[in-house]
C-alpha cells in the first residue's frame, strides 16, 4: 500500500516535471532574448507573443530552434535582423515541448506539434549538425 503510494507519487512528479519541460526549457534557452512574456525587445528581437511568423513559418520552427537563424525576417510587419543562436544539443522531444509552450502561451493559441512532425522538420536540417 505504502509502496504503491510511493510509486504513484514518483510517477506523478515525473509526469508533472515533463509537463513543465517546455516552460523550463523556454526559461533556459529562449527567455533571455524573447523575454519571459514572449514580447521580444522593441525592433531588435522579434516577439513570439501573437507572432504571425509562428503560423506562416510553422514548418521551419524546429530547425530555427535547433540551428538558430540570421538575416532579415519580418514578424507582424516589422523587419528584424539579429542573429539568433541555435540550441544544437536539444533533442526532438525537448524541441516539441518548447514549441508547444510557445504555441499555447503569450496569448497564442496555435496548433500543437507532435514529436513526429518535429522529427520530420528536423530531417530537413540534419545536414547542419555535421
Amino acid at each position: 500500500m505504502v509502496a504503491g503510494a510511493a510509486v504513484l507519487t514518483t510517477l506523478t512528479q515525473c509526469f508533472t516535471n515533463k509537463q513543465n519541460e517546455g516552460e523550463r526549457l523556454y526559461a533556459q534557452h529562449c527567455a533571455n532574448c524573447h523575454m519571459d512574456d514572449g514580447s521580444g525587445l522593441r525592433n531588435l528581437i522579434p516577439p513570439l507573443a501573437k507572432a504571425d511568423y509562428l503560423v506562416s513559418h510553422r514548418d521551419d520552427l524546429a530547425c530555427i530552434i535547433q540551428h538558430g537563424q540570421q538575416g532579415e525576417i519580418v514578424v507582424n510587419g516589422v523587419t528584424y535582423n539579429h542573429v539568433m543562436p541555435g540550441a544544437e544539443h536539444l533533442n526532438k522531444g525537448q524541441i516539441t515541448n518548447i514549441l508547444n509552450y510557445i504555441q499555447t502561451n503569450f496569448g497564442n493559441s496555435n496548433e500543437r506539434f507532435t514529436i513526429q512532425e518535429v522529427e520530420k522538420q528536423l530531417d530537413k536540417c540534419r545536414h547542419l549538425l555535421e
Binding site: 527567455a31 533571455n32 532574448c33 523575454m35 525587445l41 522593441r42 525592433n43 531588435l44 528581437i45 539579429h82 542573429v83 543562436p85
Partner: protein, 220 residues
C-alpha cells in the same frame, strides 16, 4: 472647523505621521557612497584634519553611436546609470536592455538623468553597429549613449565601476560580464549597484534615483 474639516485634518495628520514613520530612518533617505575610501590627513589652519576621500570614477573618453565623444564632462551636473554589454550577447544582455528601457522611459524627459552603455566587444561593436542597435531600441542618443573605444580602456573602467568584464572563450558569446547597473552621482561617486537582469532590483534603482536627484537638488 466643522466635523468634516476636522476629519480631514485628522486624516492628513495620520497620513503625514505614516509618511514620517516610513522615511523616519535617515539612512534610508540618502544613498551610501560605495567603493573604497581613503582617509587623508590635511593641514588646515595649522591643524591636522582627517578627511575621507571616496573612490571616484576617473576621466574617460569613448565614442557614442553618433560618433560623438563621450567624456566625464558629458555627465557634468548630471547623474547617470551605466552598464556593460555587447550587441551579439545571447545571454543576459537583452534582459538588461529591456530593464534599462524602464529607466529610460521613466526619465526620458528629465535631462538630469543620463544612461551610458559600454560595449565590451569593441572589435565587433563599431559606431555603426551601436547606431543600428540604439535605433532598433528606438532611444535617443543624447539620453542613452552606447559607447565603444579602446578595449583596454573599457575593461579598466569596468573595474572602477566594480563590474566584471572580460573575454572568455568558454562563455556563450565569448565574453563574461556581470549584469550590473551602476548609479553614479554628479561627483562621479558610485551610489548604487543593481542586478540589471532582476526586475525587483531595477524597481529599487527607480526608487533610488529620485533620492539622489533630491540630494543634488538640496546641495544647490
Amino acid at each position: 472647523m466643522n466635523s468634516n474639516n476636522i476629519r480631514q485634518f485628522i486624516l492628513a495628520l495620520a497620513a503625514s505621521a505614516a509618511l514620517y514613520a516610513c522615511s523616519g530612518n535617515e539612512s534610508e533617505a540618502t544613498l551610501p557612497i560605495l567603493g573604497h575610501r581613503d582617509v587623508v590627513e590635511q593641514e588646515v589652519n595649522g591643524k591636522m584634519v582627517a578627511d575621507t576621500v571616496y573612490q571616484q570614477i576617473p576621466d574617460f573618453s569613448f565614442t557614442d553611436q553618433d560618433s560623438q565623444q563621450v567624456t566625464a564632462k558629458t555627465f557634468e551636473g548630471k547623474i547617470y546609470v551605466t552598464d556593460f554589454f555587447f550587441t551579439t550577447c545571447p545571454t543576459i544582455c537583452p534582459k538588461m536592455k529591456s530593464q534599462m528601457l524602464r529607466v529610460y522611459e521613466q526619465y526620458k524627459d528629465n535631462p538630469q538623468v543620463v544612461l551610458l552603455s559600454h560595449t565590451i566587444d569593441p572589435k565587433h561593436d563599431t559606431v555603426a553597429v551601436l547606431k543600428e542597435y540604439a535605433e532598433r531600441l528606438n532611444v535617443s542618443s543624447d539620453k542613452w549613449h552606447f559607447v565603444t573605444g579602446e578595449k583596454d580602456s573599457i575593461y579598466s573602467i569596468a573595474q572602477k565601476y566594480m563590474v566584471t568584464a572580460m573575454e572568455d572563450e568558454q562563455e556563450a558569446g565569448g565574453f563574461v560580464h556581470s549584469g550590473a547597473f551602476i548609479l553614479v552621482d554628479q561627483n562621479r561617486h558610485i551610489r548604487g549597484v543593481y542586478d540589471g537582469t532582476q526586475p525587483d532590483q531595477v524597481d529599487k534603482l527607480l526608487k533610488d534615483i529620485p533620492v539622489l536627484l533630491n540630494e543634488q537638488h538640496q546641495k544647490k
